[in-house]
Structures are given as C-alpha cells and as structure tokens.
Subunit: 298 residues, 2 copies
C-alpha cells in the first residue's frame, strides 16, 4: 500500500519504518533536517534487536500525502488544525486518515478541519529521535484504532508488518484511559524532572494522583465516555513497571519545548468546566507546567 506519515517525528518515523520494511511504499512529511538525512542515507531504525537503514521517501511539504491510501497523522496536538489545512488539498477521496496523537480529541479536531472521517488511534510505543533521520525504539508498538469501513483491512496490514493492531468500537474510551494515566504522571514527573519510581515515593504524591484520576473519571463519566480499565489500580501499578521513565512532558520541558499539557490535564480542565465538574487538582498541575514553560521562555 501507499502510506504517508504527516508530521514524522519519533512516533511517525517508527511506524513508517515498520511499514516500509514490510514492503509498503512510505513517504514521510517531516522537518527539512530530517528530510535531508533520510534522503542521504535512508531512515535509520534502531531497535534492541537490529539497526537498519530503511528506504522511504521524504519531503518537507504536505503535498507528500498525495495519492496515499493511508495517512498516519502524527503532528503535535497544538499543530493539528494547521497541519490539517496544509494537507487537505492533496488528499484523494479514497485516503484513510488515522490520527496517531496524544490526547483524546485530535481525530475530532482534524475531522472538523477536513470535513471527512478521521480514525482515532491509541498508540502504545516508546521511541525517541537521537538525531535527524534516526529513530530509536525502546518498547511496545501496538495500536488500537477506531472502527470504520477500512479499519479491519488496515489492522490486518499493520499486524502483518509487526505492528499489532486491534480495532475497537470504543477507541475514545481507550484514548481516555491513556489520557488519564498521562494526567496522573506527566506533570508530576515533569516539574521536578523525577522518574515515575522516585516521584511516587514522595510524601503526598499518591494522594494527588488519586485526586487527578478521580476528577478525570468524573469528567469522563459526565461526558458519556466508557473508560476501559480499573484505573486507580492501573495508574499506581505503572510506577513500578516503569520506575525509570521520565514523562514526555518532562522531556519537552527539559528541551525547552512547548509541552502538550493543554491536551492532557488542560483538556480535562476545559471539558470539566464545560460539563460543570470541578477539577482543582488537574487545574493546579496544568498551571504548574505552564509556569515552568513561562520560566523557560525567560
């Protein structure tokens, strides 16, 4: 199949590389320095098992999505509307569009821009980019994608490419589950730059995580979302399973990058305000990350 990755950062490069290795024709739409590196030597995919230069096309312009049967939309949540508008004139009628992004409403926001269906996907993968055109895989890689006319066919093709992919009729519930875990960990790890294991040992932190989860569940319930897990237990278990992990928000802050906090705890705050649910713990964490961003801007 012909597949384009719109916004090929670490996540998009990983899935693009896996699909290209399985024989699909992959085009990355990425920043110029990544495009140059990929054109020069291929996309370097480094996993625990192998390191390989994968042959893919790369272009800095959104016209790279032209003729794609599938577009993996992987930009940062703040960039969803702008990237959607850039991509829109180049999409063909038969293109399936998947949103592989953090937060729960990116598919909906992109759909509003494009005025056509977008399939939400929950992404479970740990990757980073140590340099231009070089993606490192640290663990996992599975997807849960929403139901749609092409979803089963996409899931089968992806699974054959070693991307375990399930179709769910409750992908929004799956995305909320992931969101709530992120709401409990991301800011609290980011602000002091502490790993999950150390962070949960600090006095009072588990109480705050429970407040955060309870607020999120109240908002989800009022929003009619069916969350897919026994979350309070899952959330606290994660600290042991990922003791050395720093949150993506922590990594963004450490690099002086804008975080996605407005699409994590900040999204819960806005949705709570709309639905009449108080979210003081999420509000405090959101503001604290914004304060750290303001400090970094000097």
């Amino acid at each position: 199949m012909k597949i384009a990755v719109m916004g090929a950062g670490a996540v998009g490069c990983y899935y693009g590389a896996m699909l290209a290795r399985a024989g699909h024709s992959v085009t990355l739409v990425a920043r110029p320095q990544h495009v140059a590196a990929v054109q020069a030597r291929g996309l370097i995919l480094e996993t625990k098992a192998f390191t390989e230069a994968v042959k893919v096309d790369a272009i800095a312009d959104a016209s790279g999505v032209a003729d794609a049967e599938i577009v993996l939309f992987c930009v940062k949540s703040d960039d969803t509307p702008a990237a959607g508008r850039e991509m829109a004139p180049h999409l063909s009628a038969k293109t399936s569009i998947l949103s592989l992004q953090n937060g729960v409403d990116n598919a909906e926001r992109l759909q509003d821009v494009l005025q056509r269906p977008v399939i939400p996907a929950a992404v479970y993968v740990a990757t980073d980019m140590p340099g231009p055109g070089h993606v490192r895989h640290h663990g996992r890689g599975e997807l849960v994608i929403g139901a749609g006319p092409a979803s089963v066919e996409i899931a089968e093709a992806f699974s054959r490419a070693a991307i375990p992919t399930d179709v769910s009729d409750n992908v929004i519930g799956v995305l909320w589950t992931k969101l709530i875990v992120n709401c409990a960990y991301n800011a609290l790890s980011a602000i002091p730059q502490l790993s999950y294991g150390r962070m949960v040992e600090v006095e009072g932190v588990r109480d705050v995580m429970q407040d955060v989860v309870a607020e999120c569940l109240a908002v989800a319930e009022r929003a009619g979302v069916r969350v897919t897990d026994n979350l309070p237990a899952t959330v606290l278990g994660l600290a042991a399973a990922m003791a050395n992990q720093l949150s993506s928000t922590a990594q963004d802050l450490a690099r002086g990058k804008r975080t996605e906090i407005g699409h994590l705890n900040g999204y819960v705050v806005r949705t709570g305000a709309r639905l009449g649910i108080a979210t003081p713990a999420n509000r405090a964490l959101t503001a604290m990350v914004k304060l750290m961003e303001a400090k970094a801007e000097g």
Copy 2:
C-alpha cells in the same frame, strides 16, 4: 527590659536590633557563625535609612533565654518542638513568650511542649541576612500579638521601639489570613522561581489561586476561625503591590533548604483531612514543593 531572641535568623535579628536600639537589653540565641560575628562587631542592622552596628549579646546555647522578661521565639516551624525543649529549663516563671513564626499553630505547639502560655504573633516584615551577623530590612515591621496579661505592656514597649504592635483578641484569625495569602503565592512562585507579578500572568494561575483560597476559607470556617479580610480580593491585589517579590518558599528552594510548606498548604491539607474538607489544590501544591525538595536532595 531584658529580651531574648530564640532562633535569631533574619526576623529575630531585626526585632532584636530594633529593641536594643531603644535601650532594651537583648540576647540573641543563634547559630555559631552568627554568634561569632555579633560578638566581634555587633549586629549590623542595614535599613534604607541607615546602617548601624547594634550592641547585643549573642550565644549559641538556649541558656541565653535565662532571666529574660520576654522571649521572641523565631525558629523555623519544623524546629519548634526541639527548640522549645532546649529552652524550657532556662525559662523563669515571669517570662512572656511570643511566637514570631510562620504558620498558625506554632504558639499552640510550643505551648504543648512548655506547658505554659505562649502568645501568638503575626509578623509583617521583609528582611534577609546577606551574611553572618548582618540583617537587612526591606520593608514594614509591624506585629499583631495575641491578648494575654502582659500583652498591652509588651505592645506599648515595642511600639516605643519603632515596632508598631497591636493586640488582637483574634490573632488566630489574623494568622490564618496571612497563612491563606502564603498558601496562594508561596508554592506557585517557588516551583518555577517566578516573581508574583510574572506568576499571576501565566494562564490558569489565577484560577488555581482562587481554588486554593476557597479551600482554605472552607477549612478555616469549619475550624471555627474568623478570617479578618476580604481574602479573594486581597490575594489578587498583592501581585501588583509586590510584583518583584519571590516567596520565602522560593528562596528556600533556591538555596537547597527545606521549606516550610508543611506548615503552609500542608497544614491546610492536614486540617482539612481532620475536619472532612477536601483540599485537592492545596494538596497538589504541597506535593509539588515536596517533589522539588526531593529533587534537590538528589
């Protein structure tokens, strides 16, 4: 009068110096490096109007409170019980003890240790110590002290020493008012190390401050405390009046010192838990400062 300052940091040195200048006999109980500096050249009091070496006694041992008619108890809140026990054997029956500390329950905690009355005092002064035996005055200096047999006499003596001092039958309400202002500013300024003026301009911060104040007022009301001010308005006004101020908690964190957060937002959290009032915003701010302390400890 014979006056001793137990725990002569910036606040204690300032009041000790002012009383000594007015002719009282003052003994500072302080850390050895301060004692050595004061014995060598007097206590340097630097104000915007003058700089002067003030003659006071200084000693590193709690026996320095012996024979004092008034003890100004100025240690950090965490040190209240230990400093009380050290001082106890040296107190005479006629000594009046004033707690000039942050938080609202230090006088009560000291009273429990000493098994005798302690007069709470609300302190409004900006001071720091740029070096051993050297205190700088930046502004204000007034006290509100609790009612007791000696309070009016003490207030008159202090006022004659250019320390404007009022006696209040609601000093606990006054202390809570000050506590609530600190709860709204200290942690939010400390964590990003931003001044009050910059901090309140960041998106969502005023909302969090309102959550914090509302929780504090609910706890105070349930505790039967009569708060003395229109607090939501006072709190937001302070950011303009003290735009360049960093909180004391911010200064403690910046110096790698343990903060008093457990006696500020942390006190509200504990009191709320005891009285059945939820305090998620105060809980989040307390945990965040504890996380920063844990990070600093490495």
